[in-house]
Subunit: 351 residues, 4 copies
């Protein structure tokens, strides 16, 4: 099995940041954790160390490694809500469109999804959705869930997140952050991780690692101890309890060690900026959303998209507007970017 | 972090086979799969190769990697049953006692658990539980689920499995095998994997790798194409869809390559035999169940257990009878076994 | 306990059509069914007769009485869909806003709710929501559900329903009708019940009785035998199996007998027309939606609404637009209507 | 439709107590509640009066009418437990064998069912099932649920119920009573309703009416206000919210009025005693369980059962032991009983 695209001759690297492999230092951390026997299910040194390191980063949190982002989001939500409760989210939220109904099936509750111009909820949007409180016919809103950065590559400023937390808390709700790419947001904002979570009033976070160089590993982070009380059972019942957890924890630990994430996410974001700049300079190409993390959305004429799809695999986000998505990762090279930009220019020229 | 017990001075290695690490060749297979970009979510060369290799092993199956055993069992069951249906299993089954209600919560259905002397269902037991068919007040039995080897370390012979399949099929039911340690059963029986599954009429299998040297990886295997039709969606909704699936598939592939599993499971089983033999020779110690895979259950006087627990971590399986469980793994050494046996002799002598 | 408002001095009758009592002939049918012993759970003469009568009305259907509308809708949907599947409905649909998340919790699936101008789905809206088919990340659309008449008092013409059925069937989906007030729609359209269901290609119907003079009783009606196969178990597991079912069936039977529903619904619709006409003649009052069944929605200035709420109980449907809802029932009298109209005129005059 | 058996020539009356009709005074209470308009969904005078009357009977309780026993049990349990929690019950419990998996599907949790000699849990049985507390792999026991009287017609004395409450509370659990026939137990014990519930430490009760002369109506009764806080939403999401609730409440109210239940249950129990006495006097017939309420279980030779089934419909409870069940109701007459007894004598004589 050779490097590169499988069973097809197109370059797949811009399709998703989880098409990238494992960052070398992360792979090394797995090997290093493989010394001998260690207790399973989280009762190991690496998970303990992760908990400690996470507290240095985020404050007095409770941290639980899980397998994947969907698992993290769903078990986090299921822990803090009842089946008759609801989650307000953006229409474009991963929990709403990319988790095959897992949130509904596992929590029993409802997602109230709101259209947004750029993937971001606002206090106004949230307030408008706060209906039916106390009405037995109606689901009871319990959580506001945002994705940071959003599925459209935009980020919430600390002020924006704080404002949402304020609205949520004022209404007796919790603020959940789907942070599958939280580190890309932090890099994009030039902040640390605490400044965009704990300091803003976030209550529970799904912290992502897989899209930033891990083989596989995310963590559910509770910013209030009382919210975490039932989590061990929800994680197990949610099929997210890793037996050899040390290898998940070791990866997450490595990502935090020396802030390695600044390197992986910094590189990915820089590649996105390079790509966006190149794309923006091509006549007829419009960058659809502010490029604030590692995603680049551009509106392309249909023939251009068709031409590019002959050589590249990527996703069309909106058939109507012709917006496509290109993702950059820790493994994307400047040369990769330049070649896509060049192909774009050629495609536009020949279209 | 050094080899050995974490945060305690007891030897943990006999507590569970998932306290062992990653088999070196399996770890190497992960590194080898890390060449560059590859499509996520199963659309990669390694997953394709796994599917092909599994068909060589099992026949015309459909294979889907998942994260862990609970996830495999639950999504497999949820795919082949409706929420008003039931699964017959042994009272000691992992799905019944060690999955925190995940089968019930995710399938919506019911487990009908039957007491057994040795962890094994029999045709008689199953037939006795076939009640209420067509009665709207009663769950409708849909699946017979067995664990191979059982949670008590016993194995079903091909004849026994075939007989259960016959009873199940005659009643319009399916036979599911929780094969978290299936390879240990095959080694114990001196057979291949197909002889104890496809050839016996098994309909769906959870094939385990983690307990035999993988970092983490299991697979759901359907022996009938029609049963697999909905699985992609159930796996995703069941939060068991790995994004970087190539790394799960590469591990499973390696376990099957050159029948590596004969080495890992063979060693583990041999260590269990060695330990059982040593234990059986100690006066007052009774081996509680036939040692047919990699688990050793012995009945110990309470003071002996107490003494051993000072130096070793392991689980008491039955407080009443004093039966404790010792698990062996690919990583257990003869020296490890001999030291435990010696400690046992000492404990008995001083008790 | 005297006739009239309970524990308050406001007139409650326009708040909902289930504030009305039991139609005398329906009450008599309960008494008539009370002769002696009869098998429970549907194995009685009245339920058998209902099945036969329903087949005369709707064609070759399978019919199952249930307790209430939510129970009917949810068990109907749960029978024809898998937990990873989705239902397309109007944003205003009862299943979406008035069932406290019961559809999600019990089916495990997702509601994809679409904004509409008048509560009615259209082929264009449905086609626009048909996304993600075959994509494992995405719920799979299985059902289009419409309410007839809608929650806004509008009705689908047979042509409109047929067009939706055609779109649904072309995409491999089913068409479900929430017919809590189906008979009001039939009266409004001047048709029979079959013309707006079976003849249009409807696959499954929740047929309502409670809002048209029953003490309590609805029925799930399947227009394809294969869809009904699992229903007995879903109904029981859905807690909708009445033990003394004869009394539910007897009511439904009476509603169909001699087309009694034309009387109950005809009267309710006529009262709505009378009320709408009166309201439309008041300056500054706008009838918000076509009055095609027994609901009247009018946009009122806030002070007018406030004034009216002193004497009447009713629901404000949209705080922004000032639209309120008045429901008429079999029990509403012309005098009741005229008094409300008069109060409206007075309120407008004094505002 | 004439009085008596439907579509068969057998007498059905002993098959179940819900084969009986509506007690005349209860039917009259429905008619009396039909005076005019009344708010729906429980905001009516009858439901308010029921709440008040229930407080006189049971103490400071919160009471919520529901449609049926399964709905009452399941929503009660779902309110007081989390999906990862478990309910200990007798193997013969209605929730375990006669609700088609509704408890598992709706609560997400697990039933831990224990074999009993007579349908009754004991402190010893419960204590033996209290395993896995705090273990993330294991469901967490939350509720002990008993049926009073049991499905085998036996009753818990106040002392027995108190002892179970004590065990439950000591372990941090709640005690739930499935009281589908609670009034029959009270009559059997010669007590009031409070003496066998509130006074024993019961936390939540499903109070039955349908089997004692109601058309249909049960109530969930919480003996602690904090347990009831979420119930309105669980009832609605559980599809158990009656729109015209006044008619359910009026029935329950009538059953309590002047302790009418002493008459209905007293008569049913007396008929059971008469039947048991007659049966016990027949050679070769063994009364299988103490007759303490309105159920009579007798062990019959197979030919006797076969002969009786030609003329009577009833259920064989245990194929192995030949135990059959005969239920008596408010509507069973001494003559009915004497005829069955006579048929039994004849069947035995001719067998």
């Amino acid at each position: 099995m050779s490097e590169g695209p499988a069973r097809e001759h197109r370059l797949v690297l811009f399709a998703s940041d989880n098409y990238a492999g494992v960052y070398p230092a992360v792979l090394a951390s797995i090997a290093a954790a493989n010394g001998g026997f260690a207790p399973a299910y989280g009762d190991d040194d690496w998970t303990l160390a992760l908990q400690e390191r996470m507290r240095e980063v985020f404050g007095d949190v409770d941290v639980f490694p899980v397998f994947n982002g969907t698992g993290g989001n769903v078990t986090a939500l299921a822990t803090v809500m009842q089946p008759f409760e609801a989650v307000i989210c953006a229409e474009t939220a991963h929990i709403n469109v990319d988790e095959c109904g897992a949130p509904e099936r596992f929590t029993g509750g409802k997602l109230v999804d709101l259209p947004t111009p750029d993937g971001k909820l606002t206090p106004e949007l949230v307030r408008g959705a706060l209906v039916g409180s106390g009405d037995q016919h109606h689901v009871q809103t319990r959580v506001v869930s945002i994705t940071q950065p959003t599925e459209l590559g935009t980020v919430y400023t600390p002020g924006e997140t704080s404002a949402l937390a304020a609205v949520a808390h004022a209404a007796g709700l919790l603020l959940h952050v789907d942070g599958a790419r939280l580190v890309n947001a932090a890099v994009g904002l030039g902040t640390g991780l605490r400044e965009i979570t704990a300091d803003c009033g976030v209550d529970v976070l799904t912290f992502g690692g897989t899209k930033n160089g891990l083989l596989g590993g995310e963590a559910v982070v509770f910013f209030r101890h009382d919210l975490a009380e039932r989590y061990l059972f929800v994680r197990k019942q949610g099929m997210q309890l890793a037996s050899k957890m040390r290898f998940v924890s070791a990866q997450l630990l490595r990502l935090l060690e020396g802030e390695l994430w600044r390197e992986t996410a910094g590189h990915a974001n820089a590649m996105a900026q390079r790509l966006a700049a190149a794309a923006a300079s091509v006549p007829g190409v419009r960058v659809a959303y502010p490029v604030q993390a590692n995603a680049v959305f551009v509106a392309l004429p249909a023939p251009v998209t068709e031409r590019l799809l002959e050589d590249y695999r990527f996703y069309t986000w909106d058939e109507q507007t012709g917006v496509v998505r290109w993702m950059c990762s820790w493994q994307t090279t400047p040369d990769d970017v330049d070649r896509l930009a060049s192909a774009l220019r050629d495609a536009v020229a020949s279209a």
